[in-house]
Subunit: 139 residues, 12 copies
Amino acid sequence: MIYVLNGPNLNRLGTREPAVYGSATYSDLVDICESTAEDLGVTVEVKQTNAEHEMIDWLHRAADEGADVVLNAGAWTHYSIAVRDACAMLGGKLVEVHISNIHTREEFRHHSVISGVATGVIVGLGFDGYRLALEHIAR
Amino acid sequence: MIYVLNGPNLNRLGTREPAVYGSATYSDLVDICESTAEDLGVTVEVKQTNAEHEMIDWLHRAADEGADVVLNAGAWTHYSIAVRDACAMLGGKLVEVHISNIHTREEFRHHSVISGVATGVIVGLGFDGYRLALEHIAR
Amino acid sequence: MIYVLNGPNLNRLGTREPAVYGSATYSDLVDICESTAEDLGVTVEVKQTNAEHEMIDWLHRAADEGADVVLNAGAWTHYSIAVRDACAMLGGKLVEVHISNIHTREEFRHHSVISGVATGVIVGLGFDGYRLALEHIAR
Amino acid sequence: MIYVLNGPNLNRLGTREPAVYGSATYSDLVDICESTAEDLGVTVEVKQTNAEHEMIDWLHRAADEGADVVLNAGAWTHYSIAVRDACAMLGGKLVEVHISNIHTREEFRHHSVISGVATGVIVGLGFDGYRLALEHIAR
Amino acid sequence: MIYVLNGPNLNRLGTREPAVYGSATYSDLVDICESTAEDLGVTVEVKQTNAEHEMIDWLHRAADEGADVVLNAGAWTHYSIAVRDACAMLGGKLVEVHISNIHTREEFRHHSVISGVATGVIVGLGFDGYRLALEHIAR
Amino acid sequence: MIYVLNGPNLNRLGTREPAVYGSATYSDLVDICESTAEDLGVTVEVKQTNAEHEMIDWLHRAADEGADVVLNAGAWTHYSIAVRDACAMLGGKLVEVHISNIHTREEFRHHSVISGVATGVIVGLGFDGYRLALEHIAR
Amino acid sequence: MIYVLNGPNLNRLGTREPAVYGSATYSDLVDICESTAEDLGVTVEVKQTNAEHEMIDWLHRAADEGADVVLNAGAWTHYSIAVRDACAMLGGKLVEVHISNIHTREEFRHHSVISGVATGVIVGLGFDGYRLALEHIAR
Amino acid sequence: MIYVLNGPNLNRLGTREPAVYGSATYSDLVDICESTAEDLGVTVEVKQTNAEHEMIDWLHRAADEGADVVLNAGAWTHYSIAVRDACAMLGGKLVEVHISNIHTREEFRHHSVISGVATGVIVGLGFDGYRLALEHIAR
Amino acid sequence: MIYVLNGPNLNRLGTREPAVYGSATYSDLVDICESTAEDLGVTVEVKQTNAEHEMIDWLHRAADEGADVVLNAGAWTHYSIAVRDACAMLGGKLVEVHISNIHTREEFRHHSVISGVATGVIVGLGFDGYRLALEHIAR
Amino acid sequence: MIYVLNGPNLNRLGTREPAVYGSATYSDLVDICESTAEDLGVTVEVKQTNAEHEMIDWLHRAADEGADVVLNAGAWTHYSIAVRDACAMLGGKLVEVHISNIHTREEFRHHSVISGVATGVIVGLGFDGYRLALEHIAR
Amino acid sequence: MIYVLNGPNLNRLGTREPAVYGSATYSDLVDICESTAEDLGVTVEVKQTNAEHEMIDWLHRAADEGADVVLNAGAWTHYSIAVRDACAMLGGKLVEVHISNIHTREEFRHHSVISGVATGVIVGLGFDGYRLALEHIAR
Amino acid sequence: MIYVLNGPNLNRLGTREPAVYGSATYSDLVDICESTAEDLGVTVEVKQTNAEHEMIDWLHRAADEGADVVLNAGAWTHYSIAVRDACAMLGGKLVEVHISNIHTREEFRHHSVISGVATGVIVGLGFDGYRLALEHIAR
C-alpha cells in the first residue's frame, strides 16, 4: 500500500490561484495517482485533509503498516513540526511533493520542516511530481 | 453576506486576560457585529472556532460565495500559513482585525502571516475594530 | 478637537504612484475628513507637512490640548523615533493610519516605529481609514 | 484535580523513536501518573490528543476549574501560540514537561513558546518528569 | 536533445563518500540516463565537468538550441551565481537533481542558488532522480 | 554521593531580588537538600562558590568519583563554556536546576550553555526543583 | 532642466574630512556642474540643503516638471525613506552620486535606501561623478 | 565657547514622560548649564531645536569656531547619520549626554549612531550629566 | 593601456534577459568601448571570459603593467573573493561597472565583494557606464 | 563609603596599550580617586582584581552596606552576567565607567551586560570619568 | 608523496600586498617546502593554480593515491564548496595553511568552508606554516 | 623564556572525552613540551590553571618579560575577553593552540576571541600542535 496524503487547501486545486497551480482539479489529481498506481501494479490510497490531527493519524497508520507515503503537506510544510514528527516514525519511503516550485515563491515557502525526515523531495513538476514519486517507490 | 470569523481562544473573551482584552464577552462581540450589520443593512454571520481546519473550511465557503470576510485569526495570525493560503483564495474583501494592539505586546505578536493577503488591517481599537471593518465593507 | 496629521509626500496624493494610492488628491482627503467630522459633530483640523520638526510641534500642541490625533506619518513611520517620542506624549487617543497595505509592499515598510505608542492602527483601507479612525475617536 | 495533558504523537510512545523516548508505552505513562496521584492523594486526569483544538478546549476547562496542569505539548511546544494563549488563561500551576532533553536535539526544539507562561519546566528526565511535576503540584 | 549536466566531483561517484552517494559509479549513472533516454525515445547527452566555465558554455549551447536540461550542479548549487545566470537563459525545461537529500546534510547545503530559476527540483532519490527528470521532460 | 553545586550570587538567596527568588535563604536551601537526602537515604554535599575555578574543581572531583550532580550554575549558565566542559566529563547524572523561570526573564537568560551536556533540566519550581532533582537521581 | 541636488553637510566640502572628500569646496562643485552643463548644452540648477523637507519639495518640483535629477543625498542616503518616496515620483532619470566610495567606509554606509528607485548610481569617482551623471543624462 | 545642543522633544522636559525624565523643565536645564558654566568660568550657549537642519547648522558653526559641544541629540541619536556627520567635523571635544539610562529602555534606544564620533558619553545621570560634561570640558 | 574586463555570461548580451540588459550585443559593447577610447585618445583592450582563472590572470597582467581596469565581473561580483584579491593588487584605477541597476534586482545582487577594493562603481546606466568609466580614467 | 572597583587588566594601566589608555598608571588613578574623594568630603575605597569571584564578593559587601559603587568592569563588561547579577543587588548608586570610548573600538566592546542594571554610564572621558562619577554620587 | 597545493593569487607572493604577505616570493615558498621535505626524508610536490577545476583534479589524484595534502586554498577557502567536497575525499591527512592571520583581517576571511573536513589548520605563521605542516605529516 | 599556558579542564587530558582528545595525559603533554624545548635549546615553562585570574597574571608576567607564549585557553577561547586583553599586552609572539579541530565540533567552538590578537593559530594537530608552536617560536 502506498498512501498519497494531501494537506490543507489542496482540495481546492483548480479553483485556488490557477496562475500558480494550474486549472486541473483535486479530482484530476486523484485520477492521475490511481491510474499511475494501476499502471505500476501497486495499490494506492489518495486522501486530503485540512485537519492536522487527521494527517497525523494517517501517518501513524502508515507507520503501523510499514507503508510508503507520498506527502504534499501544503502549508504545514513550513511550520507543522507535529506532522514532521509523525513522518519521522515511518518505516517505509517518504517522498515529499510540491506542485509549484516553492523556491520561486515567498521567502517563507523556501523552507520545509519535513524534508529533514523525508527520503526525497520533488518540487515544481506539477501533478507529474506525484506520478514520479509513485514510480520511484514502485521501483 | 459578510463572514466575521474568529480564531482560537476568542470564545474566552471576558475571561481571558481582561487587562488586555477588556471584560466584555464573546457574546457581546457577536451582538455588536449583528447590530452593526443590521444598522448597515447587510447580513453577517459571526463564528468562532479553535480548530484550524474548521476555519479553513469557512474560508473556502466564503471564497465560493465571493463573500467578504472580517477575520480575527487570534494566535494563528502569527504562524498558520494554512489559514493564510485559504485567505488568499477569497475574491471579496478581507479585513484583518485584532482587538488589542499587537505591536505593544510580545515580539512574536508583531508579525502577521495574514496581512500580506489582506485588503487591510485594523489593530488595537477593541471590539470597535469589528464595527469599523463592517462599515468599510458595507460602503 | 481632533488633529488629522499627515507626513511627507502625502501632499502629492493623486499624483504619487496612483497604482498604489489611487487617483484621489490630498484635497479630496481633506474634504472627506472634514465632512466626516461634521457628520460626527466633532471639530477636526487636517494638516500636512514634509518637515519633521513641524510635525513634532503639532504633536506637542495636541499633547498640550489633550487632543486626539489621527496620524499618517508617511515614510517617517519607518524611522522617525523623534516623531514617535512626540506621539508618546499624547494624552488623547492616537490612531495610526496608512492608506495602502504596507504589509504587501517593500520589507522596510512592514515595521512601524510608531505603532508601539499608538492606541491602534488602520492599514490598507484607503481614505476610508481616516473616516473610520475619526468615527472610532468620536464614539 | 490535576490535568496531565499530552500533545501530538505522544500516543505513539514506545513505538516512536525508541532511541529517543525509550520503549515504555503511552499506557505505561498513564499508569505512572495515576499511581503517583494515588500515592500523593490527588486526583489526576491523563489525556492525549493530536488535535490542537481539543488541547485548547481542555486547557479552557482547566482554566474554568482553576485546576493545575502538567503539559507535554509535544511538537506544538515549538510553534502553537494558540496553545500558549490557552495556557496563559490558567489560574493554577502549569508545569511543562518534556520526556527527552530537547536541548540536545535539533536546534528548532530548543525553543518553547509555552515556557514564557509556565510556572516551571522539567526536561529530559523521562517519564519521571511527570511524577516530579505531580509531586511539585501536590506539595 | 536533452542535456544531462553534472558539476564538480560527480566524476568521483562510487569512490566519493559511499555512505552518502552509494557505490554505483559515474559511468553507471551515464548508462542509466542513456538507457532511460532510449526507452523514452529521446536523445540525451550526459556530461560532467569540474570547470565552472565549461558548465556555463554547455548551458549557453543548450540555450541556443532551446534544449531541456537536467542539472546536478554539485557544490556549485550553493554559491555559483554564474551558473544560475546561465541557467536563467534556458528556453527549455530545467530540472535540478541532487542524488542525496541535501536537507539532511550540512546547513550550507540546504540552500540552492539555482532552484529560483529551475522548472523543478528532485532531491534525495539517488540515480533514480535523473530517470524521473528525463521522464518528466519527455512527457 | 550526590553533589549539589551552586554558582555565583546564590549565597545571597533571601537578600537577592526577593521578588524573583523569594525570601528563603541559602541556608534554608541547604537544609532542604540535606533533609531531602536523609529522607531518600542518600548522601548529599551542598556547596556554593563565586569562583569558576572552584566549581570546575568540584566537577572534576565528581567526575573522578562517578558521582551524580545537581547543578545551579547561576549566571555562568549563560556563558561559562569552561563549566560546561567540566560537566561533560561527568559519568553520573547531571540535573541542571534554576530556581526562577529563566524563560520569563531577560532574553539572555533563555539560553543555557550547559543543558546540552545535562541529563535533564528543572526550571522555575523554586527550591523544590532541588528536591525533585534529588528524588530523580535517588530513584 | 537638470537638477543637481545635494543633501546634508555637503555645503561643508573642502572643510569636511578632507582625507575622505578632498580639499575642493562646494562652490568648486557648483562650478564643475555648471561648466559641464554649458559644455553639454543643457540647463542645470545646483542646490544644497540640510533640511529634509526642502529636499522633498525640490524633488516634488522636479517631478512636476518631468526633470532629470542628479542626487547626492549625503547621510539621508542611508535612512530617509521620505526622500526615497519623493524620488520614486520622478518621471525623468535619477542618477544617485556619492563622492567617496561608500563601500570602503563604515558598514552603515554600504546600504542606500534610494538606489532601489534610481536609474543608476555612481560611487567613489569624486566630483567627476557629477560630471559623468550629467553627461549620461544629456546623451 | 561651549555649545550645549539639545535635539527633538527636549523642550518638553518636565511635561514629557516624567516617570522617565523627572519633573524638572527645560528651562531648569538651561539654568543648571548656565550656572555651572559661570562657576567654571566658561561661556556656554544652550539651545534646543526640533529641526535636524538647525542642529546641523549649529554643529557647523561650532566646527568653524573650534568650539566644544555637549550634545543631547534625543531621538536623532538612534538614526540621524546627518547629525553624526556634522559631529564628525568638530575640532573640539564632543560629549554626548543622555538624561535617562537608554540601556534600560527599548532595544532601539541602546544604539547611538553618534557615539562613534564622540569624545565620550554620559548616560543616565539626569541633568547632572550636563554639569559633568561641562566640568570635563572645562578641565 | 586600459583593460575592459567582462565576466561570465556577458558574451550573451543581447540574447540574455533582454528585459534586463537590452537588445544590444556584446560586440556592440566592444564597439562602444573602442570608439570611446579612440575619442579619448587612449588604448583599450576589451575582453570577456567565463573562466575565473582567466580573469585572475588578466588582472595579474594589469597589475604588472600598472594599467587601469574597467571591470564588469558579472555574477562573480557577488561571491568570487579570488577575483577581489586579484583586483586588490592593481596599482591603477579600478572602476566597477554594472549594466543593470543591481539594487532593483534580487537581494543577493545588492552586495559586491569587489566594491571594497575598487576606486569607484557605476551601476545601472547601461553600456554608457563603460563609456563614463573610460572617460573618468582618461581624465 | 563609595567603592571604586576595577576589573581585569586595569592594574596594567600605563603599560597596557598606551595609545588607547594613556600613560598614566593605575596608581595615578587611585590618587585621583582619593584626592577627589577628599575634596568632596566622602570616603572612597579603590580596589582592583583580575578575579571575577573577588569582584562579586566586593559587590556583595557594598550591597550589604548600602554603599554606592563606581565600577569599571574591564573586559567583564561584555560577558560576565555573574558580575551583572551582583550589581543588581546594590541598593546605592552604580556608575559604570570606561576610560576609553568603547564605541570606537571593536564591535564586541559596544555592548555592556552591566548597563542595564546601572544608574548611569560614563564612557571615554579618561580618568576624569572616575572623578565625575564620584562628584555625581557625592551630590 | 605529500602534495602542497596553493590556490588563486598565491603565484603573486612577494608582489601581492607585501604588508600582509611579506616580500618573499612564491618560488621562495617552493624552495622552503622542498628543502623541508628533503630534511624530513619525504617526497613533496608543490603546485599552484588559479583554476578551481585544476585544484579539484589534483585533490582527486591525491585521494586516489591516499596521499597527504598541505592546502592553502587562498580565497577559495571562504566560498568554494567544490574544493571542500574534493578535500572530503582524501584518505590521508589534510593540513590547511594560511600565511597571514585571517582572523585579524576582513570579517569574510574569518570563516573557512574547508576546516570542517581538514585534519588541522595552521594560520598566521607565514611560510613557516608550510614547514610545520610538513613536519607534522612526516611524524 | 617561552611560556606554555593551558586553560580550564586541560589538567584532565587523558580522562576528558578521550574520543576527542586522545588518551595521553596532561603530564605527557608537559613532557613533550619540555623535551621539545630541550631539543630546540630554549627554556620553557608549562603551566595549567582553571582560574581566569591566574591565567591573566601569567600573561602579565610574560608581557613584563617580553616572553613568547604558546596558549591553549581551552573554553575561555570562546568568551574570555579578559584573557584576550591580557594577550594583547604581549610584546613577544603568541601562538594559539587547540588540540582538537574546533571547526568540526559545536558551532560555538568555531569562534575564538583570542585569534584577533594572536600571531598565529594551530588547530587540530593534537599534542604535536604544541611542538610545532615551540619550533616556530624558536626559529
